[in-house]
């Protein structure tokens, strides 16, 4: 009897229902899917922006786009990839997987979760609305003051940017609160913190980072908003303000943001490697504490983005030391991943390809990061293409590969169907080759002095060859993404049914059918191990080659033995999110629209607050309560 037969057929009905059911859903799984689809859509948008940038730079004196369009493209590419792709793609996996992995039936605040998603979506639409108005932001994703001032940037682009990123910041803070509470309060009985899966641990650290990092950027944005809308002078040097303030506030957010983007991928890799090496994660407690240490030190390194600002030797030394310290916990993680693979019975599946690829590529990005930690070296490389190479090895090689490992790993759980191994591996190899072709030559360009964010360069500078190679690489990446979408569509249409536990996993999400039922767990499990499902299947042993539990013993019954009540769907969160976005958008149109937005927001929040969680028609499962009335 195969492993797959162990669990009941998947609950495909999870995704059925019309548009209305999606707009009012409070189910963490459906919200996770919404996050994932939005993020992948924006991944294509940001990718197309990158392709145009690469076409423009493919040869000297390029004429594909104008200088103004080029500046808008790299601004939107950066903003899109950070806020509209990597963060929501992590949020998609957090939403879908965290409750399943900790043995919960939903997140702590299901309607706040819906509010987070819709706020994010409306904020991202507001940002991209700037394209339709014909005035996208053009000051870089980092928006250094005072180039963003009314004097030097009178158009509406910067306003779109600062308002939409603030709106998305509210979404992030709301979901950070939600997931912190979920992880701390809603774990199944017996799941102590040290038994929690690494992915959930990294997610917890990310939530804390978001909670602490978004307030400084909000302050920075509010100052900028006041400068632009109400004529204050926080960043205007002519009037005694200082642009350095922006740099500090931005990077106090900006560097923890780097860890917000990379730690989810660390978490995914820490789940994928043990599953496909058939071994527990090597030194799991060290992995947890390294993650905490990375998050903690992440707040003490922001000025390494500012070594050329001229803060003086004392500040440069302190920030240089703190930055180098981060290499220690990061190194611990990398060695532990390698040690996890060492001596394992390795199953070469697509998720493992991406996870191993992530480890290798992230090492390259990490090594160039250590170079930047030294001010004299950094000063040579600051704002050159060397930094572009570094950050793309971290975000593309690290985050994107890690998240794709997660997508391939959990795809059967989410869709209930297997995804093609052949196309998956083709996707991996194309993306791996394309990524190295694109970003490795940028190291050479940077050392040769090519500055970032230049729209053209002269032929006699000798930068043409590597730029052309980088452009070719970018198109190889584009093809690999196309392969992924073909694979995804084929899997959804005609993929082989996955069963509950296709990879013989160790954690709780594999104990239920794929896709899971609305209520997740028919019986909330009692956890006795960091690898509860391996314990269930193989007994208390480190050798997981032979099952002790009789095959076919289902970990979860098909129908719940007791009645389960789920929170009813609600349309008020989406209304409140709409109101919030109208407030932001109204700032660009007129006071009347702001007031309409406030009214909608207040009304939405009011109705939301007084809506009973359970009312007539809310979903229930299992037997009706006994002693009928």
């Amino acid at each position: 009897m195969s492993v797959r037969a162990m669990t009941a057929p998947g609950h495909e009905s999870l995704y059925s229902g019309g548009m209305r059911s999606w707009l009012t859903t409070v189910d963490h799984k459906r919200i996770g899917v919404l996050y994932g689809i939005s993020a992948l859509f924006y991944f294509v948008v940001g990718g197309v922006e990158a392709l145009i940038i690469r076409l423009q730079l493919a040869s000297a004196d390029g004429t594909v786009v104008g200088a103004d369009t080029f500046n808008q493209l790299f601004t939107m590419h950066g903003t899109t990839m950070v806020f509209l792709v990597l963060m929501p793609l992590s949020a998609a996996l957090f939403n879908y997987m965290i409750p399943l992995m900790i043995g919960a039936r939903d997140v702590a605040f299901p309607r706040l979760n819906a509010f987070s998603f819709w706020t994010f979506l409306f904020g991202s639409l507001l940002l991209n609305l700037s394209f339709l108005v014909g005035n996208p932001p053009d000051a870089g994703w980092f928006g250094y003051a005072n180039l963003t001032s009314k004097q030097y940037n009178p158009g509406m682009g910067i306003d779109f940017w600062l308002l939409s990123v603030q709106i998305m910041g509210i979404a992030s803070i709301a979901s950070a609160v939600n997931f912190t509470v979920t992880i701390l309060n809603m774990r199944a009985h017996g799941m102590s913190l040290m038994r929690m899966p690494l992915f959930v641990w990294m997610a917890l650290i990310v939530q804390v980072l978001m909670l602490l990092a978004f307030p400084p950027i909000t302050v920075a944005f509010i100052y900028l908003m006041f400068d632009r809308f109400f004529g204050t002078h926080f960043y205007i040097p002519d009037a005694g303000g200082t642009p350095i303030l922006w740099q500090h506030l931005f990077w106090i957010f900006g560097h923890p943001e780097v860890y917000i983007l990379i730690l989810p991928s660390f978490g995914v890799v820490s789940e994928v490697l043990p599953t496909f090496s058939r071994k527990p994660l090597f030194g799991a407690p060290f992995m947890i504490f390294s993650g905490i240490l990375i998050g903690f030190l992440g707040f003490g390194v922001w000025s390494h983005h500012m070594f050329t600002t001229g803060l003086g030797a004392v500040a440069d030394t302190a920030f240089s030391l703190a930055t180098m310290l981060i290499a220690i916990p990061t190194g611990v993680k990398i060695f532990n991943w390698i040690a996890t693979l060492w001596g394992g019975h390795i199953h070469f599946k697509t998720p493992l390809y991406f996870a191993v690829g992530m480890v290798g590529l992230f090492i390259i990005g990490g090594l160039s990061g250590i170079m930047h930690a030294s001010p004299p070296v950094d000063i040579q490389q600051h704002d050159t293409y060397f930094v572009v190479a570094h950050l793309h090895y971290v975000f593309f090689g690290g985050t994107v590969f890690g998240l794709f490992a997660g997508i391939y790993y959990w795809w059967p759980k989410i869709t209930g169907r297997m995804i093609g191994e052949g196309l998956g591996k083709l996707h991996f190899w194309l993306m791996f080759i394309g990524m190295n072709l694109t970003f490795f030559p940028m190291h050479f360009l940077g050392m040769d002095g090519m500055p970032r964010r230049i729209y053209t360069y002269a032929a006699d500078l000798g930068w043409e060859r590597w730029n052309l190679i980088a452009t070719v690489g970018a198109f190889v990446i584009a093809v690999s993404v196309l392969v992924f979408f073909v694979n995804a569509v084929r899997s959804v249409r005609a993929g082989e049914p996955a069963g509950g536990d296709p990879w013989d996993g160790a954690t709780l999400e594999w104990t239920m059918s794929s896709p899971p039922p609305e209520y997740n767990f028919a019986i909330v499990p009692v956890v006795n191990s960091a690898r509860p499902f391996w314990l269930h299947k193989f007994g208390p042993t480190r050798d997981i080659s032979t099952r002790t539990r009789e095959e076919g013993t289902p970990p979860q019954p098909d129908t719940p033995p007791e009645r389960i009540d789920l929170p009813s769907p609600s349309g008020w969160p989406i209304l409140a999110a709409l109101g919030l976005s109208l407030v932001g958008g109204g700032a660009l149109v007129g006071l009347w629209l702001v007031l309409v937005g406030v009214a909608v927001l207040v009304f939405g929040v009011y109705r939301w607050a007084f809506q009973p969680l359970e009312r007539l028609g809310h979903p229930t499962f299992g037997p009706a309560p006994g002693g009928g009335r």
């Binding site: 500046n71 000051a139 002519d238 050329t308 600002t309 030797a313 040579q380 002095g449 500055p451 230049i454």
Partner: protein, 159 residues
């Protein structure tokens, strides 16, 4: 209100830490005159062109025999666009911006600084190898950021 003893202890500990940190900073700033070592030299960006510390622009020999180079960065050029300094001598660059933040990177060396409006950026370096160096603005400064560059010529040292 009942507060758990552990929680109470942590609340007190955090409060004490905050008070201690703030007191340390205040004590250092008031009695020891510690200040963050950033940009101690400020300048009104509207007065840079006429400021005596930038007159004349370009290369100036100081009384002590060292060399001072004065550069003003503006959208989208450096004044002056061509700088000539001798090899093997201490060269102090003094820069300021009249509009937005610019960068001043001498390609192939580790001479690189931001040029901030409202501040004078200063650094000292020695060029050992004679030749022509490209100077680029590497801090994104607007529409024609890509054309903002200058030239540094290092002449062989006098024998």
């Amino acid at each position: 209100m009942r507060v758990d003893p552990y929680e109470r202890a942590w609340m007190w500990a955090s409060a004490v830490m905050i008070v201690a940190f703030v007191a340390t900073i205040a004590y250092g700033a008031v009695t020891q005159s510690y200040h963050p070592p950033s940009h101690v030299e400020t300048i009104d960006p509207k007065q840079v062109w006429s400021s005596p510390s930038f007159q004349p622009l370009g290369v100036v020999e100081r009384a002590d025999g060292s060399i001072e180079v004065r550069v003003i960065a503006h959208m989208f050029a450096f004044q002056k666009p061509e700088i000539e300094v001798p090899a093997g001598r201490r060269v102090t660059f003094r820069l300021s911006s009249v509009d937005v933040i610019h960068g001043f990177q001498i390609v192939g060396t580790n001479a690189n600084t931001m040029v901030m409006p409202g501040y004078v950026s200063e650094f000292t370096t020695v060029f050992e190898k004679p030749g022509e160096y490209l100077i680029v603005c590497n801090e994104y400064c607007g529409l024609s950021h890509h054309v903002m560059h200058a030239k540094l010529i290092v002449t062989p040292r006098a024998r």
